[in-house]
């Protein structure tokens, strides 16, 4: 169950376990992000074929751009060929469709391997084409949809809930006390007493503390009822004096007599009234 306020403690072993899980997940999610093909990759530019190089950019939605650039040389000016691409990954095979400006499609199929920042492509035509990840020009964020990233996200949420659940529940029930007391005009104790009891108070202490909790809440509600014109102070006046006298008697009685039987009798009365009100 949940506790109120200061009694919250973290078990050291559990805490250690949580920290270890956190580190493992953090590590695995970072690694998996590096394994994603999403991003820009550069191949060539190493002196072979007039410093020609190719940049492949893969975005998350299965599309991308292929740029083949031949820098200015003694035979011609700089040449740049840009193709839109569509790609698909199945196991370790990468299918890329190069779409030309005139709409013709050139489909390719190659196996691929990603090792940190190196992408190796192997097809029937080209063997071991090495692409380097262009870090400073990463147009797309790392792929976050893989399993370990989701796990990491879920883990953070669970951690949050484990740490704050008790406080959130306490706050929720505290507010519920006010809502019930405000709309029904009574019955805040229905929530307040069990809540206090679960925080470690005895039955009778819970009752006496619940009254202290309900006092400012009822005062606030009463003021809002008067302000809204549902009731006037004069309406309530005849009941105040007998009630105050009764409270004095009841307060003294609470710690003197066993309330168990009285509670049951009173519960029957409530049930009777509840059913009549409900059926009205």
């Amino acid at each position: 169950m949940f506790n109120l306020g200061t009694q919250f403690k973290i078990k050291p072993k559990l805490f250690l376990l949580v920290v270890i899980c956190f580190i493992v997940l953090l590590f695995s999610s970072c690694k998996s992000a590096e394994k994603s093909i999403v991003g820009s990759w550069k191949c060539g530019g190493d002196g072979v074929l007039y410093d020609q190089y190719n940049i492949l950019t893969f975005s998350e939605d299965g599309t991308g751009v292929s740029e083949t650039i031949i820098p200015e040389n003694q035979d011609s000016e700089e040449l740049k060929i840009v193709n839109d691409i569509e790609y698909k990954i199945q196991d370790d095979t990468l299918y890329i469709d190069f779409i030309s400006e005139d709409g013709s499609v050139n489909s390719t199929e190659q196996t691929f391997e990603i090792d940190n920042d190196t992408l190796t492509l192997n097809s029937k035509k080209v063997h071991n084409a090495k692409y380097e990840r262009i870090k400073h020009n990463k147009p797309y964020p790392a792929n976050n949809t893989d399993v370990s990233s989701v796990l990491f996200f879920v883990f953070i949420h669970i951690l949050f809930w484990v740490i704050f659940l008790k406080k959130i529940l306490t706050a929720f029930f505290g507010i519920l006390v006010g809502i019930i007391n405000g709309t029904v005009g009574a019955g805040g104790g229905l929530v307040a007493v069990p809540l206090l009891k679960s925080s470690g108070l005895s039955q009778k202490e819970s009752h006496s503390t619940a009254i202290a909790v309900l006092l400012p809440i009822s005062l606030m509600s009463a003021v809002s009822y008067i302000y809204a014109g549902h009731v006037t102070l004069a309406d309530a006046l005849p009941y105040v004096i007998p009630s105050v006298i009764g409270a004095t008697v009841g307060t003294i009685l609470l710690y003197k007599i066993p309330t168990h039987l009285l509670k049951k009798i009173f519960a029957l009365f409530m049930l009777y009234a509840g059913v009549r009100l409900f059926l009205r």
Partner: protein
């Protein structure tokens, strides 16, 4: 001020002082037997509860029976809730309100009827 008023007011006070859900006694009398309009009955109940609870709190405080730390945490939250409740009232029709009260009473009655006596009670 007639005799029924005095008796029910007194009973409500006893029940409230004993933490038996006393807030409901006067409300039941007013809405079920005295024929007061639902919202007025609730308002009277809340107003009467304030001095009644104040007396009980003073007596309990003198006897150190109140965990003030918990009060400090819960009361502000409850006040927020009561403001929310007051706002909700604008949208709840009176007939529905008495049904809600009936539901709350049935729930309270049942939970008390079947609650077991725990060892904490003996403290």
């Amino acid at each position: 001020m007639n005799i029924a008023t005095i008796i029910w007011g007194f009973l409500a006070g006893i029940a409230a002082g004993m933490g038996l859900g006393g807030g409901t006694v006067l409300l039941i009398y007013l809405s079920l037997f005295a024929g007061v309009a639902q919202l007025t009955a609730q308002g009277i109940n809340l107003i009467v509860f304030v001095p009644t609870a104040a007396v009980a709190v003073i007596i309990y405080a003198v006897r150190h029976k109140i965990a003030w730390k918990k009060v400090l945490i819960m009361a502000p939250l409850g006040i927020v809730g009561s403001l929310l409740g007051g706002y909700l009232l604008k949208f709840i029709p009176s007939e529905l309100l008495s049904k809600i009260l009936g539901g709350v009473l049935i729930f309270m009655g049942l939970s008390r009827l079947f609650s077991r006596k725990t060892c904490k009670d003996e403290k």
